[in-house]
């Protein structure tokens, strides 16, 4: 098997496993702490999005980091960190493949990986930039 395929598959597998583990941990923690209130269902049924954002919803890395840094740790921030890890996993996979292409002297696909990574970073900056 080629080096690029091996590296990409490992990054995707471990990124996926770790993020699902974080999401599960956060969900269980939230349920155990008794955070599941009936308001959550009404909130999930809301018709209009926007102005009045739910306190359970995180929109940036800063907000998630704040929730994780608090004591006791906000379990929903743990779930959101799992989501964030899942969001960056494909980008890490492409970045690792880029290194393999550069080392192998495959400039054309190194360029394709850079273009792809740039597009992913533009969308991820929207999350991290707030």
């Amino acid at each position: 098997m080629k080096a690029a395929e091996v590296l990409a598959s490992r990054v995707l597998f471990f990124g996926g496993v770790l993020s699902v583990a974080l999401m599960t941990l956060g969900m269980v923690g939230f349920a155990v702490r008794g955070g599941l209130e009936p308001e959550f269902i009404a909130e999930s049924h809301r018709v209009e999005m926007g102005a009045a954002r739910s306190p359970a919803v995180f929109v940036s890395v800063t907000e998630v980091a704040r929730g994780l840094g608090r004591w006791p740790v906000d379990p929903l921030a743990v779930v959101a960190s799992g989501v964030l890890l899942l969001l960056v996993t494909p980008a890490i996979s492409v970045a690792s493949v880029l290194v393999v292409f550069l080392r192998g002297g495959d400039r054309r696909y190194a360029f394709v990986a850079v273009v792809l990574l740039s597009a992913l970073l533009v969308s991820l900056v929207l999350v991290g930039g707030r």
Partner: protein, 289 residues
């Protein structure tokens, strides 16, 4: 009042259970979880369309990571083809997910209903099977210069199958369209990327499906980030849905080899067309239940 409104825990467990079933169905039908999930979450659970799409995209990345890891190892997924065509797809996805913030929900519901119906029709198509071997006469110069080719060992045929992409520019255009649908509807759009690889690029269906599962994770990540930043990813919805769909997809891929009976596929398609019709009617203000 929705029947689930009695208990948030029951609501989340029901979300998880439904996502498992959806993941199994998605794997068996080859539609992916998201295509079925969004209408189910909005119609049966009453969840806001934006939250449903955000959760669906997160689940697409989870299933793609799980599936792509194995398929890359097997050598079925072509990483060069995947990266090359992920570029137009991701641009389309960014356009589509930006449109979500502008388009009224009824437009999204209408496009969704039509797209899911079309995706359902696609599953009726007979896969093209192993393609003819690579010949130099019909080679697309772009495919040659970009090395959009490969070979894999086909267990069913008992031999190596070599392939090379054809009609690369048309394929890239189709991928852009699939990306727009993915971002606009919050789905992986795997059915459309596989179709583009099969019809335009004329790749073997196994390579197309495996490469698509790698690509849709990248595409969904770009869209999901935009959804996240907009506040459309609710942890209590996205969490159980992503875990459930992933579990379902693993189970579905295990039972898939035993479910080759076309009658079962047709039965499942009834579900798809029902959801398609419901979403279209919903767009025009008609609620079936």
């Amino acid at each position: 009042m929705h029947p689930w409104a009695v208990s948030p825990l029951l609501f989340i467990l029901a979300l998880f259970g439904t996502s498992v079933v959806t993941g199994v169905l998605g794997a068996v039908l080859g539609l992916g979880g998201g295509t079925l999930l969004v209408p189910i979450l909005t119609m049966f659970f009453g969840i806001n369309l934006h939250y449903a799409m955000g959760a669906s995209l997160v689940s697409v990345i989870a299933t793609s990571s799980g599936a792509a890891a194995g398929l890359l190892k097997l050598g079925l997924s072509n990483i060069r083809v995947g990266l090359f065509f992920a570029v137009p797809t991701i641009v389309g996805a960014m356009v589509g997910s930006t449109l979500v913030g502008i388009a009224p929900p009824w437009v999204i519901e209408l496009v969704f209903g039509l797209a899911i119906g079309w995706a359902g029709l696609l599953t009726f198509r007979q896969p093209s099977g192993a393609r003819r071997h690579v010949t130099e006469t019909d080679a697309d110069p772009l495919a040659v210069s970009c090395a959009l080719e490969g070979a894999y060992y086909d267990n069913a045929l008992g031999c190596d199958v070599a392939y090379r992409a054809e009609r690369v520019k048309r394929g890239a255009g189709a991928m852009f369209g699939a990306g727009v649908l993915s971002g606009l509807l919050g789905i992986g759009a795997g059915a459309f990327t596989v179709l583009a690889m099969d019809v335009f690029l004329r790749l073997p269906i196994k390579v197309a499906a495996a490469t698509s599962s790698f690509m849709i994770g990248i595409t969904a990540a770009a869209s999901a980030a935009i959804f996240f930043a907009r506040g459309d990813v609710h942890p209590l919805i996205a969490g159980p849905v992503a875990i459930g769909v992933l579990v379902g997809a693993i189970v579905g891929s295990r039972v898939l080899p035993r479910l080759t009976n076309s009658a079962i596929r047709r039965l499942f398609l009834v579900v798809v067309f029902y959801l398609s019709a419901s979403m279209i009617l919903r767009a025009f203000g008609v609620r079936l239940f």
